[in-house]
Subunit: 286 residues, 2 copies
């Protein structure tokens, strides 16, 4: 029985879960952190970009005087591999309500030289200190109840089962954005899903960094196959998420010149928009 | 007669215009550039964030092997002032089709110490080298013909005339997003305008960095007044713009906890979506 499966009986908690253990960073020197990238968050063979963002986000939460990511911009430089890595942080500015810093994640080449994988610029604050005012015209995504949605465990592998990350996630895809898995993509750049962690850990601002980049690429529903590597991803965390499953909606409007944007919205169980992200990704046309 | 007014008779060209002169950077040492922030791009008394982005973008175009900004993420740290500044760049990675670097703009405090104003992370490429494929569901904004739109020169100062930047821009606002100027904001988080440079210089990828942050804040149409400082702004340049005026559409959906996002789209005269941006900004509620 996998760790995830056994944990479903006893729900994992924030601070004591697969996600927390696999994003743990160890202070080596001022501003420098060691981390072991887990093979449990790979998709095909690459380390998931949202997991990497959470690892960097955790280092920055330690390096900065504020705990919560408000806005994080990541530029992906080279493909990460499971295994040891080092994160170097730099504090740009500390303020009363916001602090800004940067972090780079490095791994090692065959000669032991550092190779930079991702560089991140981020502003952190305290979500609990924000006023409750909300004026929004955004509405939660139209997604069927969870029992009418489908995950990798529901039958003939609509999501590639070879990816370790699928065992770590509770991902239930809206059937209307699953045409690609049946060979009949809708042609629309949309992907929607219920999202959680498989061991039942509730969402927090750090796991929202994972949530925005955990769904299959919208390119699949546009009718493209193959890898869609992220060039840059920026996420805004707007609110501390309530316990319970999240709904994630991703939209692509413009595929041009071999690049597309993916706009993600994350909604919590209290119907609040808790995160927004946009990424620029490359596609192979053909 | 102002430089802008006299230039309208003879259209300025890319490379020989107010915008080009005021964003000029001078190499002082490898990766280090001197710049003089022009008082001509201030709004109220602050230096416009889009102008600053263009200045940093110009330094990065020199520092990186590629010329065109593809995705630029800026975190605004402290308020810039007109006058001398220094930009320090760092190349993170150079690749065949994309290069990534960062740049920080510094000014000086009363004791002559450097104070960081903005830090930027950006990936550059070659827009001309991209394939022509476009598959988009995005449509140009519904904005009336330019002669039915209004700028600061049209009557009783709908846009505050004390801001120098209004003399540098050709900005014609959609009357349906101008309610705030008449004391009757629509309540919708929308702002739309025709945009160009007052001296007639055509748009290029660098001036798109200016275009995404040049309109009045959507907060005005939501019914809020006062300053809306940018925390972070990311822009994707998707296509080299055709000559002629641009249309800029800005939308805010979620105002929560004293922060809002502004999503901008920029369309060129050939009806192509040439840039997308999103910023996180602070508002004063009350």
């Amino acid at each position: 029985m996998s760790e995830a499966a056994s944990a479903q009986a006893v729900r994992a908690t924030i601070g004591d879960s697969e996600f927390d253990r696999d994003t743990a960073v160890t202070l080596r020197a001022p501003g420098v952190y060691d981390v072991d990238l887990s093979p449990g968050w790979t998709i095909i063979s690459a380390v998931n970009g949202g997991y990497l963002l959470a690892v960097l986000g955790r280092a920055l939460a330690d390096a900065l005087p504020h705990d919560d990511p408000f806005t994080v911009s990541a530029h992906y430089l080279t493909a990460s591999q499971p295994g040891p890595a080092v994160i170097r942080t730099d504090v740009a500015r500390t303020g009363r309500t916001l602090s800004t810093g940067q972090a780079s994640l490095f791994q090692y080449d065959d000669e032991g030289r550092e190779v930079e994988r991702i560089r991140v610029l981020a502003s952190y604050g305290d979500l609990a200190a924000l006023p409750d005012d909300v004026r929004t015209t955004a509405t939660p995504p139209a997604i069927p109840p969870m029992e009418h949605c489908f995950g990798p465990e529901d039958g003939p592998a609509p999501v590639d089962g070879s990816s370790a990350i699928t065992e770590r996630l509770m991902l239930k895809l809206d059937p209307s954005t699953l045409g690609w898995a049946l060979g009949a993509p809708s042609g629309k750049g949309e992907m929607r899903a219920w999202f959680g962690l498989a061991d039942g850990r509730d969402p927090d601002p750090l796991s929202l960094l994972l949530a925005v980049d955990a769904l299959p690429p919208t390119a699949f529903e546009i009718g493209l196959s193959g890898w869609v590597p992220t060039v840059e991803l920026t996420v805004h965390v707007r609110c501390r998420p309530a316990p319970g499953p999240l709904r994630v909606s991703i939209t692509t409007r413009n595929l041009a010149g071999g690049f597309l944007e993916e706009d993600a919205e994350v909604w919590d169980s209290a119907d609040r928009l808790v995160a927004q992200s946009r990424q620029l990704a490359r596609v192979r046309l053909g």
